[in-house]
């Protein structure tokens, strides 16, 4: 029996019972479709989270101050409120460590900002000229804060698009306008491009000013609230993080690393954490969908067993005219596999359209990967073989005499 004969036999056997075959396949279609849709939602979420972390900057290590812990009882105002990082720390990191690409210290705070007729409460970031490189900020109009601005204590500001909308209205040209922060006038010299994002931590609702001006006019001290360090490449991140830690411990005269008055955050770690969360999420969704796939497979087995019983005489006849065990085995196995394969194809289409609809109307980014399609296909074939095996074997092992007599 050639393969094309086998396929023809299978095809016509399945067409005899169109409704039944269709209903059985439906189980697989829903199973495969939901696996693909669920995994695409999971992977879409992973992609979104990763890209938003990447938008912070690449190869980034963020140093934040922390309370220095000593012996005995201390009043802590909370992590981040301490003032332990200085401009000198930032320049020491930049000068002494070779793995550093760029350093951007910042002195930030939230202030009420006024423009003629309006005002808003926003994040004011005092920083240096390296900031756009380190934190992935791009300039839309005008220019960013320059080194001269920093050394010259210039009262210039670069604003984010959301702040621009709040203060001057959407689409207005803010360059050359003046805003007032803590009774000090700053002249707007630049506008950043939108990074996207909404809500509490909107990266577009921000004002950048020279760090020296921020320290002098706004915070009134010489401390930095954050130091962002960019490593030369992603491989050196961990090394650099260790070097920064020991350098700062040494500079702050702390011998016990557990008592450090700062903490470092490695972007790779953030991504890894986020990935593990979204992976768990994807596995959860995928396994829920996988269960429906298995239920579909059991449906196939159920139908195949019914078919074998119904076609007992046909099996007997085929054996009487010379079909061998393996011919019968293959025929019924092929029916099961063809069912799951048809279900697999339709399921991929369904899953794809579902994930398309979810991203179109649900506002969730989805991504259908080739891997998940191949996986779903492979799984459907495996399910066909696994759940078709027992019925096929049962058919093949029928005694031709009894099968022919079967009523």
């Amino acid at each position: 029996m050639t393969t094309s004969d086998l396929l023809e036999e299978t095809y016509s056997a399945l067409l005899v019972n169109k409704v039944r075959s269709g209903l059985t396949v439906l189980g697989i279609i829903i199973g495969i479709g939901s696996v693909i849709a669920m995994i695409s939602i999971g992977q879409g979420a992973q992609g979104t989270i990763q890209s938003s972390i990447q938008s912070l900057g690449s190869n980034l290590i963020i140093i934040t101050p922390g309370t220095q812990r000593g012996f005995g009882f201390q009043v802590s105002a909370g992590r981040g409120s301490a003032q332990s990082l200085t401009m000198d720390d930032a320049s020491a990191i930049g000068q002494q460590l070779s793995l550093v690409q760029a350093v951007a210290p910042e002195a930030s705070g939230r202030y009420q900002v006024t423009a003629p007729g309006t005002n808003t409460n926003t994040q004011v970031v005092g920083t240096v000229s390296a900031y756009p490189t380190v934190r992935n900020v791009t300039i839309d109009e005008g220019s960013f804060i320059s080194d001269q601005n920093v050394t010259g204590l210039s009262k210039v500001a670069v604003i984010g698009p959301t702040t621009r909308d709040d203060l001057f209205g959407p689409g207005a040209d803010p360059i050359g306008q003046t805003i007032r922060i803590k009774k000090v006038d700053f002249k707007i010299v630049g506008l950043t491009k939108s990074k996207g994002g909404t809500g509490f931590n909107n990266p577009d609702d921000v004002i950048y000013i020279p760090i020296s001006s921020a320290q002098r006019f706004l915070s009134g001290n010489q401390y930095a609230t954050t130091i962002s360090v960019q490593a030369v490449d992603s491989q050196s991140m961990t090394d650099l993080q260790d070097q920064i830690t020991s350098l700062l411990l040494q500079r702050h005269n702390i011998s016990d690393p557990t008592l450090a008055d700062f903490s470092t955050l490695n972007q790779t770690d953030i991504i890894a954490t986020a990935s593990s969360v979204t992976n768990t999420f994807t596995i959860l969704l995928g396994s829920v969908a996988g269960i429906s796939l298995i239920v579909g497979g059991i449906g196939i087995m159920n139908m195949m067993l019914t078919t074998v019983t119904e076609r007992t005489r046909e099996i007997g006849l085929r054996k009487a005219i010379g079909a061998k065990r393996k011919d019968i085995n293959f025929q019924f196995l092929a029916e099961a596999v063809m069912l799951t394969f048809a279900g697999g194809i339709a399921g991929v289409v369904l899953g794809w359209s579902l994930s398309f609809l979810v991203s179109k109307f649900g506002g969730i980014t989805t991504s259908v990967s080739l891997t998940s399609v191949l996986l779903a296909f492979g799984v459907s074939a495996v399910i066909g073989i696994a759940f078709g095996y027992y019925p096929a074997r049962r058919a093949a092992s029928l005694n031709p005499i009894e099968a022919l007599r079967y009523e």
Binding site: E314, I321, G322, K324
Partner: protein, 238 residues
């Protein structure tokens, strides 16, 4: 050429052993038309299963065309059935939702005949068994009983077997269509010299053959030439 010597078939059910066949021996030459006759429970079905290579005897020898079939495995038996035997059953056993032609081509699928040749061979077999060409593309469940059995005969012929085994081929037919089927067998035997074994419990049916072997209680009780063979006058019944 068929040679059965001392065929014994024992069935075991629990501790009880029953002998369905108790030492049966006979020979059938090529081109013979033999009826095996016996009441139900006589062992004639068991004998037919062994001759048809559907089953093997518990002991004894069955030699078909010089080959000992009595000790073969399931797959080897399948090969024997495929190459040397053609079956006609009481209940026809056609695939109901396939066309007549497809039914007849089915054995050719298993014997590996190339696709292009199958149709020609199947059509010839159908013509030989006396089915009109207009029915070739009908579904087999649209045919009358007599036509259905002719399709089954064509299916048995299509592999050009050395032996055609017909198990109560007229059992499900009325007398008139039964006559047509018996005539088909006689014609195949006389014109194409096919070896035919007809298993039946009716003396009337058996009398259409040239030789009648009678089986009772697992033993061969009669083996004689049929002196008054019934000839079917196809013109009278058609």
């Amino acid at each position: 050429m068929i040679e059965c010597s001392n065929i014994i078939k024992t069935y075991k059910s629990g501790d009880v052993e029953t002998n369905a066949l108790n030492g049966v021996s006979f020979k059938i030459r090529d081109g013979e038309f033999v009826a095996i006759m016996g009441p139900s429970g006589s062992g004639k079905s068991t004998l037919m299963h062994i001759i048809g290579a559907l089953d093997t005897p518990t002991s004894g020898k069955y030699i078909l065309d010089g080959q000992d079939v009595s000790k073969l495995s399931d797959d080897e038996l399948a090969d024997i059935r495929k190459d040397k035997l053609g079956f006609v059953f009481q209940s026809f056993n056609l695939l109901p939702r396939a066309t007549v032609l497809r039914n007849v081509m089915l054995p050719l699928v298993y014997s590996g005949v190339p696709k292009e040749e199958r149709e020609k061979i199947a059509k010839q077999a159908l013509l030989n068994s006396g089915l009109d060409e207009q029915h070739f593309y009908h579904h087999s469940n649209q045919l009358s009983g007599g036509q259905t059995q002719r399709v089954a005969i064509a299916r048995a012929l299509v592999n050009n077997p050395s032996l055609i085994l017909a198990d109560e081929p007229t059992g499900n037919l009325d007398t008139r269509t039964g006559e047509i089927v018996l005539h088909t067998f006689q014609a195949l035997n006389e014109k194409q010299h096919r070896t035919i074994i007809l298993i039946t419990h009716e003396r009337y049916v058996a009398e259409h053959a040239d030789r009648i072997i009678t089986v009772r209680d697992g033993e061969l009780v009669g083996d004689e030439k049929n002196k008054n063979k019934r000839k079917v006058d196809i013109h009278l019944i058609a």
